[in-house]
Symmetry: C2
Subunit: 124 residues, 2 copies
DNA sequence: CTCTCACTTGAATGGTGATTCAAGTGTATT
DNA sequence: AATACACTTGAATCACCATTCAAGTGAGAG
């Protein structure tokens, strides 16, 4: 699917294209990064992270907070865990989940900073 | 869809649940935050951002770099623009895109830090 | 004012992924 | 060992969204 862009300024592209490629991240890193953000790009998962911000919670409690079935919650927790965003700890029959580390809180805080900044611009 | 969790330790939940709710973000903020991360959770869009890290590029050049059609690129640039991640500038017939601000670079850097940290742990 | 170029927009399509239902683990309790 | 509980896992369904194709702007050139 080549671009049907005339050669008129093809050389200008060539230059820019080189620039664009030069510092671009390698494919694998980019894929990992994308996958990471994709995990954060889901309402249910973000709500779970938000709940876990202060406290550790068992799956049961999370499901109650979300008003969703245990199964659905478990599936999402699996995704969060694979992305190293949460950790789990077993105590008897119950499994407790926590945020993996402060890194997660930082990233969420940065996201918040971004959207708040933009909201401010729109108001101005 | 209530949780079929016995009342055995319902009171323990109640406590945890309150904790979980107390500092949780309000629904609208959470929705905006989720939407923001969702935009970053796409391979094509991340590649575009990666290309724009150093240089401004016209749609045509981006399409060439991606090996995709102009139309597809334009659609994605629209999404990125609505999320305030990129800005556009018209010069004659050509439209040039740039990263909106350094904020974007910071967020991507934080994402990279996270996945690199985790990669390190797995190696150890 | 017509034509081409660079891009945008709208409608249709196809693939991905979140949720559900049903069945399976693991851990205590009796 | 049998039952109950807290959770996990797999298969199926359904909605959403990225891409494509086709048509529509806007700006300069002839």
């Amino acid at each position: 699917m080549p671009v049907n862009c005339s050669d008129a300024h093809a050389h200008r592209h060539a230059q820019a294209v080189q620039q664009g490629q030069s510092h671009a991240l390698d494919a694998q890193t980019l894929a990992r990064l994308t996958a990471f953000f994709k995990v954060l790009g889901d309402g249910t998962r973000m709500r779970i992270l938000s709940f876990l911000a202060d406290t550790e919670l068992c799956v049961c409690a999370i499901a109650e907070l979300l008003g969703m079935e245990l199964s659905a919650v478990s599936h999402q927790l699996r995704v969060l865990k694979q992305a190293d965003l949460v950790r789990s700890r077993r105590e008897g029959k119950t499994v407790y989940y926590t945020l993996a580390d402060d890194h997660v809180r930082q990233i969420i805080r940065m996201g918040l900073a971004h959207i708040n900044e933009k909201r401010g611009e729109n108001d101005a």
